[in-house]
């Protein structure tokens, strides 16, 4: 009776207290996620201040001595500092430039395939490398590039030890990244293309457009907003190189190009227990990222209606 009355009469807004009380079970569901997020995400943010202190476990965070920018100073005057910043940026930038167009081109091709069973096989196989551990992928890279009995050297008839060549590192990193993730990157584009109105293709066919023209005039415009969004997002995390892969592919001899900030943060912080110093270097990395994200987002929202943060 109450319900029918509420439905016919214009909805009266309940008081805030009442609405909160009505939803107590939903707040209860959120309790554990909120607590976990506070403990493991927000408290570490508070802990960032050890970047400005000389952190000693016995004295705690606030009890440790304030040293200002000393750790940053030490990082910027470290002999490998310039090299690490340069390597980090170049590795991400080249990965983005080479890696970004591949899923777009692939999904344009896959979408126009007219043999459903073959199309499915292509998709299944292309997704496969995404499901393999980076550890295993790096193991494969090392086997294939081995100077004795490695697939690449066998095919080329050479005995080059690629893992010790710093000039080869970026190519190895980027090519293997495309191999592993380009197929998976197609999903979002294929999903977008599957929403294209079929009547557009029909109309294009009636007008005598070839398949290539249909791709160019129907599919590409449909993909463009998603592609731009993706590009912006990646540009905003330029300083986040794939740490795990660099760590596993780094050798003493390829360090000239493989030395990146993230690996340094790990080595200093966890291996050498230089907590404050490592936090400072990590904070520098995060700060650059945030600035990039902000700049890119501002440009994007000025030039288009896309606003993603």
């Amino acid at each position: 009776m109450q319900a029918t009355k509420a439905n016919t009469a214009p909805r009266r807004r309940k008081s805030l207290g009442r609405r909160i009380a009505d939803n107590w079970q939903l707040y209860l569901l959120l309790l554990i996620p909120v607590v976990l997020t506070i403990v493991y995400k927000y408290i570490p943010m508070y802990g960032i201040q050890i970047a400005f202190r000389d952190y000693k476990a016995s004295r705690g965070i606030v009890g440790s001595k304030w040293v200002g920018l000393e750790w940053f100073d030490r990082f910027f005057t470290a002999p490998t500092c310039g090299r690490m910043i340069k390597n980090t940026i170049l590795l991400s930038l080249f990965s983005l430039l080479w890696g970004f167009p591949v899923p777009i081109i692939l999904s344009l091709c896959i979408n126009q395939l007219r043999f459903p069973r073959y199309k499915r096989v292509v998709q299944t196989v292309l997704y496969a490398p995404h499901f393999i551990s980076i550890m295993v992928v790096c193991g494969m890279i090392r086997i294939f590039l081995s100077p004795s009995g490695g697939l690449i050297n066998l095919m080329l008839g050479t005995k080059i030890d690629f893992m010790t060549e710093s000039s080869a590192f970026r190519t190895i990193y980027i090519a293997s990244g495309i191999w592993q993730d380009a197929g998976w990157g197609c999903i979002i584009y294929l999903a977008t293309l599957s929403n294209v109105d079929i009547s557009l293709y029909e109309a294009a066919k009636v007008d005598g457009a070839s398949m290539f023209q249909r791709i160019l005039n129907v599919d590409v415009p449909a993909l463009l907003p998603m592609a731009i969004l993706n590009l912006i997002m990646s540009a905003g995390s330029l300083m986040n190189v794939g740490f795990e892969k660099v760590f596993l592919l780094q050798t003493d001899l390829n360090k000239a190009t493989s030395d990146v900030i993230a690996v340094y943060v790990y080595q200093q912080g966890i291996e050498n227990a230089k907590y404050s110093y490592s936090t400072a270097v990590g904070l520098f990395n995060t700060a650059v990222n945030l600035i990039l994200l902000f700049v890119v987002n501002t440009i994007a929202s000025k030039t288009s209606e896309v606003n993603f943060v």
Partner: protein, 299 residues
């Protein structure tokens, strides 16, 4: 008549052939390395070494697989990985669901602020060391839960699930259920969860893959060798090329042989580590695109 001919003279048939050729080349590039590892893992290692197994296996041996499991750490690592994957997946998917469902309710007071509270952690975090120190302080060093708790809520996936709830589950159904006297919790358990199986399948697979393949979290937090998951155990052979004494003893022949045998152990280790996930994902593949689409569009 002119149906198959188009303005620039390229027939539909020719275009089809071009696309098939392009995709076939890509298919080959992606599949060949995996195929090569597979045939090399049970071929005669000397033939692999001599480059005789480019297309077809040569000889047949399971020595590599035998050697892989001769190192006691590997069966242990395998069991650890299974344990972490199962517990981690149940935990993570539960977290995703209990976070996403309340945040999908448009009338929930404070919804915007709560969403923001989670989303901020996607863009800004404490970083490696401050997080490590908290994990240490909460007593999770060398404890399996260090793999699950700090990750907490996977915010990116949570948003996909939240959007799925908003877009793909008819709101009338939830209202009807509540009018019938179901509590919000009961509605969630009895109506929403059963209706969300496609997105749950996707999230379960994502989560399984993440835990099965994770080694870095374990490297930082699990200090005891007996707790290492499979990929971390395999680091010794795959990255450092070091073979345990137990593995070396399965090989007849001197030290000189060891190099080739090590390669065989590597091939076998890769198959052992990669096979489970490669077998599982095709079963839920059809949900990937649907799930992404329902989750990516804002409601």
């Amino acid at each position: 008549m002119a149906k198959n001919k188009t303005s620039n003279g390229l027939s539909e048939r020719t275009s089809d052939i071009i696309l098939v050729v392009i995709t076939a080349i890509v298919l080959f590039i992606v599949a060949y390395p995996l195929y090569y590892v597979l045939i090399a893992s049970f071929s005669n290692p000397y033939d692999v070494y001599a480059g005789k197994t480019f297309l077809l296996p040569s000889g047949f041996t399971l020595e590599g697989f035998k050697a892989v499991f001769a190192d006691a750490n590997i069966p242990t690592g395998y069991l650890n990985s299974i344990k972490y994957t199962v517990i981690g997946t149940v935990f993570s998917v539960t977290m995703l669901y209990i976070t996403a469902y309340p945040l999908a309710q448009k009338e929930l007071p404070g919804r915007k602020a709560l969403s923001m509270f989670f989303i901020i952690t996607m863009y800004f975090g404490g970083g490696l060391v401050p997080t490590y120190l908290i994990v240490k302080q909460t007593g999770l060093i060398n404890n399996m839960w260090a793999l699950f708790l700090p990750g907490g809520v996977g915010v990116g996936n949570m948003i996909i699930v939240r959007n799925y709830f908003q877009n793909s589950i008819p709101h009338e159904l939830i209202e009807a259920s509540e009018i019938d006297g179901c509590s919000k919790l009961r509605t969630f358990l009895r109506i929403v969860i059963p209706l969300s199986m496609p997105i749950m399948a996707v999230m379960v697979v994502f989560s399984m893959v993440a835990y099965w393949n994770d080694w870095f979290t374990a490297l930082i937090y699990l200090t005891g060798a007996e707790k290492a998951p499979l990929p971390l155990v395999l680091r010794n052979v795959l990255i450092r090329s070091s073979v345990s004494a137990a593995q070396a003893s399965t090989i007849s022949g001197g030290y000189a042989e060891l190099n080739k045998i090590t390669e065989m152990i590597k091939f076998s280790s890769i198959i052992v580590a990669a096979a489970p996930m490669l077998i599982i994902y095709p079963f839920v593949q059809k949900y990937f695109e649907k799930g992404f689409m329902a989750g990516a569009v804002k409601g």
